[in-house]
């Protein structure tokens, strides 16, 4: 319904192109940056659905990311140990092979890749379920109150994960443990490590493409206009027959799903995930991207995600003043363009408008 073939196919081809353009070395610097930007895009665009379209201020996006990441990591780590006696990645050409010489696997897709994709989807669904549970009671709240509840939710997720049992590493232990035990052995405050390296540019940008196509379709549909009408005027939206609470929950669930996917990609990118890094600072990082891009603008979120991934790197030459310069740049942009880069519109809307204005101008 919301996903049509052509743009998605273009996305897959673009992902393939990027994959081989950046090469298969996961740790190469440009490649790592491109991966980080891709994950930031998924996070920012998914948050745009809630904070941008629906106008609800959620501050717990990293919590959904953590739920998705840990779910997927636990599945691939313990699953690989149980099935293949080792947590090592068994990826094909579309995944990374860290040891390029030893693992020139010829297949494009291996059972390991499929297992990884399944785990990503499971992570997304777990996060979506959490989004539903949090959304149902809390989305009757407005403004500041919702922000506080979602902030609290993110922190609860972080703390809960940090109080889990230590990660199991001995094959015999893992084989002997029951599923509930495995599901709660998530490495306490140390996080999980040894997660197989499956995430590659291809998988990241495949999900970027899916996220973008779906979000844009939503924005263009009457389903999406219902989200936006709530942002614009909730009472008028209800008077039109939009069930505001139901739509807020839906926005939350879809948004959480993609945050969960992003978390899963993140965990399998560096082979480790730590809830400590996914606290409110991470949530703020995503909010900053969304606000900077323009609340409600998908292309704005994409541009801001790429810029805010690259700028801190580029600022490395300022050494210890880096974060000061970064903060200063953010302040400057918000002073000059308080509505964000593109406001609620898309980059091509602005471009089209400019062209039309020039065309209509008297010669």
């Amino acid at each position: 319904m919301f996903v049509s073939g052509a743009p998605l196919l273009a996305g897959v081809l673009a992902a393939l192109g990027l994959h081989f353009f950046f090469g298969r070395d996961a740790l190469a610097y440009p490649s790592k940056l491109a991966q980080d930007a891709g994950i930031a895009i998924i996070l920012a665009v998914s948050l745009t659905l809630v904070n941008g379209f629906t106008g609800q201020f959620s501050m717990g996006h990293a919590g959904f990311m953590a739920i998705g990441g840990y779910t997927a990591a636990a599945i691939t780590y313990y699953g690989s140990c149980l099935m293949w006696e080792s947590p090592e990645a068994r990826g094909g050409l579309l995944s990374w092979a860290l040891d390029l010489e030893r693992a020139p696997i010829a297949a494009w897709l291996t059972s390991g890749d499929l297992f990884f994709i399944g785990a990503c989807l499971a992570g997304g669904l777990a996060a979506a379920a959490a989004g539903y549970l949090v959304g149902l009671p809390s989305l009757r709240l407005r403004g500041d109150y919702l922000a506080i509840v979602t902030l609290g939710f993110g922190e609860i997720v972080r703390v809960l994960i940090q109080t889990t049992r230590p990660q199991l590493t001995e094959p015999a232990e893992i084989a002997g443990a029951s599923i509930p035990v495995l599901a709660t052995s998530l490495g306490e405050s140390l996080g999980m490590s040894g997660v197989p390296f499956y995430t590659s540019i291809f998988w990241i940008y495949l999900f970027v493409a899916i996220t973008l196509v779906l979000t844009y379709r939503i924005k263009q549909s009457s389903f999406g206009r219902a989200f936006i009408s709530i942002r614009e005027d909730e009472i008028a939206a209800e008077a039109m027959g939009v069930h505001a609470t139901r739509y807020k929950v839906r926005a939350f669930v879809i948004s959480a799903f993609f945050a969960g996917i992003a978390g899963a990609l993140f965990a399998h990118q560096i082979g480790a995930i730590n809830a400590g890094e996914l606290g409110f600072l991470k949530s703020f990082e995503i909010i900053i991207i969304v606000v900077l891009g323009g609340l409600g603008s998908i292309s704005g979120a994409v541009v801001a995600a790429v810029v805010l991934t690259i700028v801190p790197e580029w600022l490395r030459e300022f050494a210890q003043y880096r974060m000061i310069v970064y903060a200063f740049l953010l302040i400057l942009i918000m002073v000059l363009r308080p509505q964000g880069l593109f406001g609620v519109r898309e980059i091509w809307d602005l471009w089209g408008k400019g062209r039309r204005a020039r065309a209509e101008a008297p010669a």
Partner: protein, 238 residues
């Protein structure tokens, strides 16, 4: 006798401990324009909000086409044929005129009929036809009010609830809007109109109610109300 399209009986609405409506009864027959006039804070808007489901009544009953709708959620009430153009217009400022109209038909699925209704709405308000892709927030006040009414009509309501359509508009635009309200009514839509501009409201209405602090103070035909000393003194400026 045909039962009225809308019958409100002994309606009570509270905002926390404060009683906003203390037993309002009104009835609107199909094909009529009925107006509620009264001072600020008398409970006019509250009555409309209770009818459209935006507020839950504390007690009393609201019958629409003979069926109880009191306390039903707004999306159910819209689907039954009541559209509400809320106070302050409530247009979606960052959406275009066309997108606003599309949201008015949100509860409907029949695409062909929606397109026909859009055409009809734009015929009533030609100024909107000139700017379908303009952001609603950049329209003038009068155009925004026209959009709010057109958008409510997109739900193809049997009963249209209008809250202060004259608010903050120049007299000439108010004249235009009220002329169009008459046309809408003549085409078969029943209207319940809340107004502070009692003069204009009584001119186009068939019946009128005067609300004072949460109660009905007077009810009569619009012509009689416009002539009555009480109304003249309190609401028509002598």
């Amino acid at each position: 006798m045909i039962p009225p399209l809308l019958e409100v009986r002994d309606l009570h609405v509270r905002y926390g401990a404060v009683a906003a409506l203390a037993g309002i009864s009104i009835s609107v027959r199909e094909g009529e324009i009925v107006t509620l006039i009264g001072a600020n804070g008398a409970g006019k808007s509250t009555t409309l909000r209770a009818v459209s489901g935006l507020l839950r009544p504390a007690s009393g009953s609201i019958l629409f086409a003979g069926e109880e709708i009191g306390g039903a959620p707004p999306h159910r009430i819209v689907a039954r044929g009541i559209a509400h153009a809320p106070e302050g217009r409530g247009i979606f400022a960052n959406l275009t005129v066309d997108e606003n109209l599309a949201l008015g038909a949100y509860a409907r699925k029949d695409r062909a009929a929606i397109a026909a209704d859009r055409e009809r709405a734009l015929e009533l308000f030609p100024r909107l036809r000139e700017r379908p892709a303009q952001n609603a927030g950049t329209l003038s006040g009068g155009e925004q009010q026209m959009l709010a009414i057109a958008r409510a009509l997109m739900a193809r309501p049997r009963l249209l609830l209008l809250d202060e359509p004259s608010l903050g508009l120049a007299p000439q635009i108010v004249q235009t809007i009220f002329r169009i309200l008459r046309e809408i009514n003549a085409a078969g839509t029943t209207i319940l109109l809340v107004e502070q501009n009692a003069h204009m409201a009584l001119e186009i209405a068939h019946h009128g109610y005067v609300i004072e602090v949460g109660k009905i103070a007077l009810r009569d035909s619009a012509a009689n109300l416009a002539k009555s000393d009480e109304v003249r003194k309190a609401y028509l400026g002598g």
